[in-house]
Assembly symmetry: C2
Homo-oligomer: 565 residues x 2
Amino acid sequence: MKILRVNMANLELRTEMVKEEYRFLGGRALIARFMLDEVNPGCEPLGRHNKLIFAPGLLGGSQISSSGRISIGAKSPLTGGIKESNGGGVTGIKLGRLGYKAVVIEEMPRDGQTYLLHITSAGAELLPATAYWGLGVYGAVKKIQGEFGEHTAIACIGPAGERGLHAAGIANTDGDGVPSRYSGRGGLGAVMGSKGLKALILDDTGVKSLQPVEPVSFKEAVKEYAQIMKESPVVESFRVYGTAGMVNVTNAQGGLPTRNFSTGRYAQAEKISGEKMRDIILERKGKPAHACMPGCLIQCSNVYADQEGQVIVSPLEYETIALMGSNLEINDLDTIARLNYLCNDLGLDTVETGAALGVAMTGGLISFGDKEGALRLVKEIGEGTLTGRVLGMGATTMGKILGVSQVPAVKGQAMPGYEPRAYKGLGVTYATSPMGADHTAGSSVRAQVNHASAEGKAELSRKMQYTMPVYDSLGFCMFISVGLGAHPEVLTQLVNGQLGTNFSVAEIFQMAKDCLAWEREFNRRAGFAPQDDRLPEYFREVPNPIVGTVFDVSEEELDRVHGDK
Amino acid sequence: MKILRVNMANLELRTEMVKEEYRFLGGRALIARFMLDEVNPGCEPLGRHNKLIFAPGLLGGSQISSSGRISIGAKSPLTGGIKESNGGGVTGIKLGRLGYKAVVIEEMPRDGQTYLLHITSAGAELLPATAYWGLGVYGAVKKIQGEFGEHTAIACIGPAGERGLHAAGIANTDGDGVPSRYSGRGGLGAVMGSKGLKALILDDTGVKSLQPVEPVSFKEAVKEYAQIMKESPVVESFRVYGTAGMVNVTNAQGGLPTRNFSTGRYAQAEKISGEKMRDIILERKGKPAHACMPGCLIQCSNVYADQEGQVIVSPLEYETIALMGSNLEINDLDTIARLNYLCNDLGLDTVETGAALGVAMTGGLISFGDKEGALRLVKEIGEGTLTGRVLGMGATTMGKILGVSQVPAVKGQAMPGYEPRAYKGLGVTYATSPMGADHTAGSSVRAQVNHASAEGKAELSRKMQYTMPVYDSLGFCMFISVGLGAHPEVLTQLVNGQLGTNFSVAEIFQMAKDCLAWEREFNRRAGFAPQDDRLPEYFREVPNPIVGTVFDVSEEELDRVHGDK
């Protein structure tokens, strides 16, 4: 396995062998270690000293189902700390197959030039992106596919990333070539934009999947894995309702963000629920179940079409529905799908953008429920107006500019679709994760506990936070945890079978501890302190009226999550 | 001496005796200790847990010349750390005479009501501010003087503070009743606005100056003090050219901020110099020398009129000329004076606003040298447009929104009129002061050294930073240091004579050490780390073309300024 370094200042491309100490690191853990080793934590995120890293998981490129996620990392312009944001689609798979442990983008073009990075089995090259820069994600990817082939995997930014907006993400193409699998969080699209890189294009023609070193035990593990996933009732729900199945669950528990996180229950939740979505999709001949990467055992994705059967967006997911639906009191899925499409095309994280719109509504820029107003504001991001730039910087900046203190964000990054006073375990994760507010850093939502009680939630969050990096580093989708979570020995056997290693379960999980330690050390050197591991005052002082409590996990408990003061 | 606490939530006013441990603290040091004792450093600056403190210096209310400055403090919305901003005029003198060591504004009005705080020798009262809220500073003060008498001292905010803009300051009236002595920095006007307090009105009718406890030695010391100041050549220059005399000095040394701190020399500096200003003032029958508080031995202030002899603004000072003149490539004093007047009336810090305009020019919002554009943008702050709100949030926010990394600011607060690559001692102060970029926290400009060399500058800054809190805590204007700086024994004798104490010089200077230790501890608890004690990358990577160097004081030296890692 090798690492490709791309210097955007002198346009040098250099391939080097992976250092021994990186050999059994992948994805998130590799990014954490690499950033700590090579990037000055004090650097400006959109300056030349930051590095943007694309890293498949340790299993990336193998034939293991749902193990092909791509981890993208850098110092985040949104949080000012380390960021790893992983996405589905086929970028991770193809990068792994091509034999790259990581692609590292360094420096900045000195002359304002823009580039495509094209990687094939023959090598890598930088090509001018003049004809692509400025295009929306869908248009750019179509043009790239026309030029480089429909079989390529593409990671691409839109105008939001080009303009350095902090809500900008990076879009990855799925198995159908649709660029809507987002490494959305942390503003990594802006880092890619600052490097003058419009797209990473991966062509794995003539290259096969990475073969398991121990085929016998591997085959056994794969069989068990498939069986476990098949038996999971959660997987069944994902396939039927997509992630949107969560709407009715969180609404019932008082944790569906509504009216800029004022409350946790939306009177019209039924209209934006997974059940409703399934009905609409079936009626309009869309696809209620769809795989973001080939061979997925879960298929939580979907294809959402309008009344004429024209695709509006694929997929429509829970986080987007929560942040751009109930959170804005927008009560129809068609509008949410249109907002989603606009964000995808501009290259924006829907969570951050939805949260920023919610803050804008509290601040009176537009009214709650104003569908046309929301669409118009997002379009302003594309037009590059000052209002558009403010919105494109995310919820924290919007709150600052409008003087709104009710801002659902930690470390500058907006909370996803779980209200933290109703889901206190997730609230602890939002507060204490080195990633900023992020459910994928350690979600407690599926635990069978009283989510609105503070008791035991710091410990629950800790447990989840020290589990997720394993998935994020192997390249696994976090949803496989609903099955494999209870079978770490199968997960371990899959790793050992593929890589020919002899890791124990404990050794696999040590990767999570190392990963978090490196991330927290990076953040410490970047200037983070315990005070940064807090929810905003609003959540500690104003109760969620449905569950009747404020966020009351103590500061001492928050500080103990990572075992230090 | 007593402390007045004003609770804006329940409208309770409570007078209490000063705690023994606060007895020999005043101004900045008292604020530092008080904030550390009473305010949660993690609180939101514009939320109910922050406190706004008005504190005269330890000598406030005495007859000692230039010892009547008012210190105003709180957790700053601009920096997120502790802030003390002192201003001239008569607020500090009258508050001292009335026997208050501090006035502490707590909580926030729950119903959005607004108030005036009126203090006389008979006591204090809160009165509705409905008729005043929304008025500019000049209009509000005129109306207050009509109602409460022209002899009152007034500390007042403008629309910028009312709207929570982070560049908002607090205006204090001078001896002529003109509200232009600003406690400008750190966004304290926004804190006052968040408390629903439009103005503090002090009526000292029937109250005398505080008498010295040891009149004989006091009289001796006052005489020596007056003689020292009289003999200082710098004082003479202040009286002739005002602080604007600095323009030609810094321009010659390559340290006059020009074109958003791109360089340190302005080709048209002569047109905005102190010499030019004096000629204009004399020609137009203004006042080239003027005292901001009665009996001042320096009189660096002035009254600047237009061609018809109508006053435009008083005073016109170096920092404003640098930030709104050369920094914007605006080459005439009349325009600068008009910008200054607008800022004063809206209740804005001219340093922060000028720096934000410079960043806006780099970002292409308007062009360098565009006088009408600059005036129009500042007017937008008054109109409350989104552009106005962005500008009113200061330079760092402007840079973020426009994607400009060339932002002259530290800890979110803009640099004043000294380019830090040319004045490396001040650069160290900008970087390491708990106040954010602030020349008054420890200026090295008058030292006889090679300012553009990094050598010895950390030590020089340290020396100045550990001197200034003495002046800031006694209530002295920092300019008396040009005389008394070399005579700490006279300063000590003044203190002992007035208070009847027996402090040694070392004990007086211990106040500075304590003050900085408390401030830094507050900031540490607020989440500050060594990484926050840095200049922006721009200044470390791009040379000031006049002096030919970048800011090259090492991070290790910066970390050693306060004697810790």
